[in-house]
Symmetry: D2
Subunit: 295 residues, 4 copies
């Protein structure tokens, strides 16, 4: 009962290379993308291009979706011509988008009514990880479905953890963004204090990264932030989308997250200046603006 | 001109083991502590006990101070019977306390008038690092003094970086506390959102620690925070002392640090409940209190 | 061309007494409410009860809507059987709900396509003002429609200001909630500092209310907050709904509002404890919780 | 036992006109100022100029001090040649400066040891109120001293309230600054949201000032802020000095004040741009900077 036929819906910056890795791993791949042109490289490499998400699902034992927002997932999975119209009972739908946990649970429930299993499986690691097949994947859903899907997931990711029931994958992804956002603020405030005190921030990064205040962000994005290299990486606009999901999810359970709320307001500063497509390390610029350093 | 005679003033949780390491490294050690009893183990191991900071300095080519606050450093270095009264021209004073950069610069300047060199050399790594001799040391002062002192510093620390002119060591230490404080908040908000969403925080830590949102705090203190183990490590009261220094130093250059200001207010919650001697990972309790989880 | 026939949709805590005032002012009133029973007192007093929003609009020269959220307004105005299906060209729709400015503009635009004029006219003053006919009304729309509607609005409000084009009424209402929320926080922090410093907050309110730090909230809700009287007034749950609209609207134009974001997080504390139906002055309890005063 | 001989130490923007009002009210006035020239107008009007604070106190039944900071009060009252060296047992010292409650209590205690009574009596109302003799005065101390001093206080203030024991006057003044600071933020966020949403803020102020979100700040400083008139009033630098006292006093009792902490960080933005001598309504500029509106 090894899965051979795999579908992929959403061939963007993340989904494109993920689908390519599945093809390279030998799966029979059927794909669909809203903008059809993006499917061409995969077609050239041997993938079938379907006419709708439903057709993808009909052709696949396991169908991935990897789109932007909650509404997009609802459209391609539950909408007219969506995955739900084509997926056979016993097949699996794996959503790799970052969306509201509540939407993920709704997708699970509606697919379950048709006998279709689902996993919410948001990823971390960026386009670099998507290309390299080294994504971290946080998976929500039942254990049996996780075990069935695991061999396929290994074609696209490295750290693959079953974190809990339906929606839990999205919750953990949102926790990841909470921690990442505040670690970025930590980096930015440390750099701002350092600079304004007349001390070379590169020296500061060298010591601080090595100790108890170290973080991935400080180590990897700190030097870029100090050098004024704001190429993404992960874009401010996407972080803001995710922090919006974070605060909405937190509001559902009335969980105060004052730090995350603050981080979101600081990223607004960058979006207000048309810098939403900068990498998130540009938060150092928000702190510099606070301190009157730039305009 | 190798330094052989070393002094140590301030034999607390950090200073005690640091002095012991110097003794073990073969230095002729003279010590002083406000509470004399704390000098006894070192005396038993071969250190001389002096009657005042001035006497320590008179007997030493290099004198360490390791006390709590800016006022303490001023007292033992610049006050009556202080280091400045005994230190010979050409000798070196190394202050390992975490204090205001402005005070550090004042100490440098007043010692310089007597021909005494100084380094501000706050440390990171806790009592564990102090005992193991693996502290990170952030050193401010001139390059020549740093080079002369370096062999001695190697007896107590592992990552030893000359970060800039007088006061720069303290600046970098404060940056370290900024980053550490916000990384702790990152950990606490991620755990709070996870728990309140019904997902096992241990699973979350496993994935998130491994990726771009990972940090030393998340990896090392996250599991303790989840387990309800609030033993220090680094105490809330000391973090609050340091965040006070951070905000004062930032105010001098009018550097807004809204995240650090918020972290300080959240630690007030713990101090208000008499939990100032808990480890800083107890910040998860502040977040739990916000969410109405405990009283 | 004086308006005589008026409709009212949404007969809740606010809408019920507003409709009653219109009836008392001599207008021929047609009403509709989702829960029909709420229309009975008005029917007894002479109002006609219609079977749908469309029927209300068909019978009226000017139709009020006064419901809870953006989705409710869309449903009763633009949905099937909605106002838009019954309203005659040249008639006016006045929405008194507090909703997203973007939704208000959408309602204006779709009604305009049918030749129906619209005003967004959110109100302030609470159920007390609704009963007394003394509401403040912030009106967005074109000047001519405002002038035509003004005599009718005078039956329900006292301070009636045309603040700008479609959506402007909602914008001003959201500004009102921003200011009100932060004035509440001002009150709460002043009371908390006063109490914790051992000083009688009633004395503090007496002096502070009279001077440059005075506000309506401090003067009217301060004494209730000090006395532990948390009866609404305006409920925490509704303030949170409105602060959600505020932050969404601010995000559209990328306008950082760090204070409002903080206020929202503090009100989460009360909602987390099941106190969403308390009056907003209960924010003093959030500050007391921060300070460890209660559980 | 009516008090006739009054002293005044500290003849600045506030103290100068307060002393003039005492002279105009018929009191025999002795004055001292660090910069002697400031005493000349009062000397010309009939005041005696003393050579030290001690001489002022020796000549007076009641001595006012009105200086800038805690250290200044300690110097002129408790320092060499200070009030304490000249004040007769049974005389009264009234400090109108805004200082730390802890310092006020220390002054009370040390004067009491010499049999000298004290009141901490910070004022509100600005230079306008000082000139007009209409200040609000928040008085801490014992009731008997308050009653004895009251007739004299009436020469300089209008709302004069005995708020509690020694230090309570300062506590209430700090509460006043907490409320004032957050009311200013309320004003600034409301104006920022209004402007960015394309609505005329003058219209917004008109409606909002009249209702439950109204405040003295919104009504009196709102129009100036909208007009770009940043003349003080009360300067940003002084507000920051007072917010520093607020957060220090709050830290003593571990009282979290997250809103006040945020306000302080936003005023840092103005100080960082050299605008510390603007009026506090310039906080609208901080919000405009956050939103990328100006540089």
């Amino acid at each position: 009962m090894t899965i051979r036929r795999v579908g992929f819906i959403g061939l963007g910056i993340m989904g494109g290379p993920m689908a390519a890795n599945l093809l390279a791993a030998g799966y029979e791949l059927t794909v669909w993308n809203r903008t059809a042109a993006k499917a061409e490289p995969l077609a050239a490499a041997g993938a079938r291009v379907a006419g709708s998400p439903a057709e993808v699902a009909a052709a696949s034992e396991l169908t991935f979706t990897c789109v932007t927002a909650s509404a997009d997932v609802e459209a391609v999975v539950l909408g007219p011509g969506g995955v739900i119209d084509g997926a056979a009972p016993g097949s699996i739908v794996v959503d790799c988008s970052t969306i509201a946990p509540a939407t993920a649970r709704k997708v699970h429930a509606q697919l379950a009514e048709r006998g279709v299993a689902a996993l919410d499986a948001p990823v971390s690691g960026g386009d670099v990880g998507a290309k390299a097949g080294t994504l971290a994947i946080m998976v929500g859903g039942d254990a049996e479905t996780f075990e069935r899907a695991l061999p396929v997931l290994r074609a696209i990711g490295k750290t693959i953890v079953h974190v809990g029931p339906p929606g839990a994958g999205q919750v953990v992804k949102l926790c990841n963004q909470v921690a990442g956002g505040l670690n970025l603020l930590a980096m930015a405030e440390a750099i701002s204090l350092c600079r304004r005190s007349g001390v070379d921030p590169a020296k500061m990064l060298e010591v601080v990264s090595a100790g108890a205040a170290g973080s991935w962000m400080l180590q990897h994005l700190g030097p870029r932030a100090v050098a004024g290299d704001f190429a993404p990486g992960f874009m401010v606009d996407l972080m803001q989308k995710d922090l919006g999901l974070v605060l909405d999810a937190a509001h559902e359970t009335h969980t105060p997250l004052p730090g995350s709320a603050l981080v979101r307001q600081l990223f607004e500063m960058l979006q207000a200046r048309g810098r939403g497509r900068d990498g998130t390390q540009a938060i150092v610029e928000a702190l510099a603006l606070l301190a009157g350093e730039t305009g």
